[in-house]
């Protein structure tokens, strides 16, 4: 899978175990995915910053039919959309019993040659 130029910072950081999100230098607005311009103010001065890792589950599904062979060993696995405390939203793996609204912490796990995002329930 080739990496898009626009998302290079995020993808490379994830392989190092770091989670980045894009923020507007002008208005401070957090972006979802990777953008060329701020969705709040239109500024093109966007920067990648490290996220602390805390967030809240916005949506979650348990996948029973994997799209490709590499994921067959994980079935059934959960995918969650998580709102980071910084305001960005990310998709990642999660425990299958996680509920919407739960507090989570982001980390990474190894699948084959790549590292993927995984959210675990926040301790305490």
């Amino acid at each position: 899978m080739t990496t898009s130029l626009i998302a290079k910072s995020f993808v490379e950081a994830l392989q190092r175990g770091e989670i980045l999100y894009q923020r507007c230098h002008v208005c401070g607005g957090a972006q979802r995915l990777a953008r060329y311009a701020c969705t709040s103010c239109g500024s093109e001065r966007l920067e990648w910053l490290p996220a602390a890792g805390g967030g809240t589950v916005f949506a979650i599904t348990v996948v029973s039919r994997p799209p490709e062979e590499a994921f067959r060993e994980l079935v059934p696995y959960a995918l969650a959309l998580v709102d980071l405390d910084e305001g960005a939203r990310l998709m990642g793996h999660a425990p299958t019993d996680l509920k919407i609204g739960a507090r989570v912490r982001a980390g990474v796990f190894q699948l084959g040659e790549r590292r993927l995002l995984r959210f675990e329930p926040e301790a305490g």
């Binding site: 080739t2 998302a7 979802r32 348990v62 029973s64 799209p67 998709m91 919407i100």
Partner: protein, 355 residues
């Protein structure tokens, strides 16, 4: 496609030489650089205007909207709108799923092992959470679409199903089961938009609207306005009529959750209220606003762009009173809504029979 186009020309009473515009939907089984031109060559057409369009599931409604603009501007007199593909038999099923995976973001979503049902499942999980409804509420739409398809000889899935059968069907991506998802089908649909439609089949496009607020699931900013609300408002503003005038509905239904969300966001049910209205008979063939009387994508089938255009063909037939055994009591004004991607691109149309 050729078969559907021949039928459309026949119904419209037009000769090939009278077609001066051609809009053609993309096909995942035939990703050609110039599909409209290719089709014209093989179908022996020499139009003055032609190209293919790509708006995912909204392509059919988008082509009809553009055909209307081409006719209104005087650019064309008769525009043939056509789409079709052998999405089921023309390729390996895994290829179809892989092609459709492009709906996901290649850096943030796809690496996680996602596919389209998972995106809609995530939206469904949020919808059930916010509305307090359960999986049986969504399943009711699958049952209703199958009942409609059982009355259509050309439908892909015609055997009636029960609520329990939907709920106990194979899990795909919770809360969606196999029967919450549309099948992959073969099919083709063609229509003609003309400056002078023949008497007896004069179905006017009164209003049209689009909205495009995101491409990818993760980018969605507002789950109460995916874009359908904006597109609908634009279409009604142009038509100059209110929802009360609508007596037929054709709503995109790639999944049961798609139908619930779109019925509500287009304003034909309150938030969380579409399943209740369905159970009360509001959307039944003999109800006030019959919905997808051909069975929709969920049961008539999903052949790509043709799958979305089947809603348009059925709407035309019902308004023109040419729906045969499925004909509902005379209908005058229909609302059509289609979406492409993950509720990403939206097209609303208001069609009306001219007296």
């Amino acid at each position: 496609m050729a078969h559907a186009a021949t039928q459309a020309l026949g119904e419209a009473g037009l000769a090939r030489a009278q077609i001066d515009g051609v809009l053609c939907g993309y096909a995942t089984t035939l990703p050609h650089l110039m599909l409209a031109t290719l089709f014209c060559e093989r179908f022996a057409l020499e139009p003055a205007y032609a190209h293919a369009m790509q708006m995912g599931g909204a392509t059919g409604a988008g082509m009809l909207m553009l055909a209307r603009e081409l006719v209104r501007s005087g650019r064309c007199r008769n525009v043939l709108v056509v789409a079709g593909e052998n999405r089921l038999s023309g390729q390996q099923r895994d290829n179809a799923i892989a092609t459709l995976a492009q709906v996901g973001d290649p850096d943030f979503e796809l690496p996680n092992g996602t596919m389209i049902p998972a995106y809609y499942a995530l939206l469904a999980s949020r919808y059930l959470h916010e509305s307090g409804l359960d999986e049986a509420d969504l399943a009711a739409f699958a049952v209703a679409m199958r009942a409609n398809a059982s009355r259509h000889p050309g439908a892909h899935l015609r055997t009636p199903i029960t609520l329990d059968e939907v709920l106990s069907s194979k899990p795909i991506a919770s809360p969606l089961k196999l029967l919450d998802c549309c099948p992959i089908s073969d099919g083709a649909v063609a229509m003609v938009v003309s400056a002078d439609a023949p008497a007896g089949a004069r179905i006017a496009i009164l209003g049209a609207g689009q909205a495009h607020r995101h491409q990818h699931l993760t980018a969605i900013a507002d789950t109460r306005n995916f874009g359908a609300r904006d597109a609908t408002a634009r279409a009604f503003a142009e038509a100059g009529i209110s929802r009360d005038a609508i007596d037929y509905l054709a709503i995109y239904d790639s999944f049961t959750i798609t139908l619930a969300i779109l019925l509500e966001e287009t304003g034909f049910a309150p938030f969380g209220g579409s399943a209740r209205l369905l159970r009360e008979g509001m959307f039944a063939p003999d109800g006030p606003q019959p919905l997808n009387t051909h069975g929709g994508l969920l049961s008539f089938g999903h052949s790509g762009v043709g799958g979305g255009m089947a809603h348009l063909a059925e709407t035309w037939r019902q308004l023109a009173q040419r729906a045969g055994e499925r004909q509902v009591s005379p209908r005058h004004t229909a609302f059509v809504h289609a979406d492409g991607g993950v509720l990403s691109s939206h097209v609303s149309l208001i069609l009306s029979r001219e007296a």
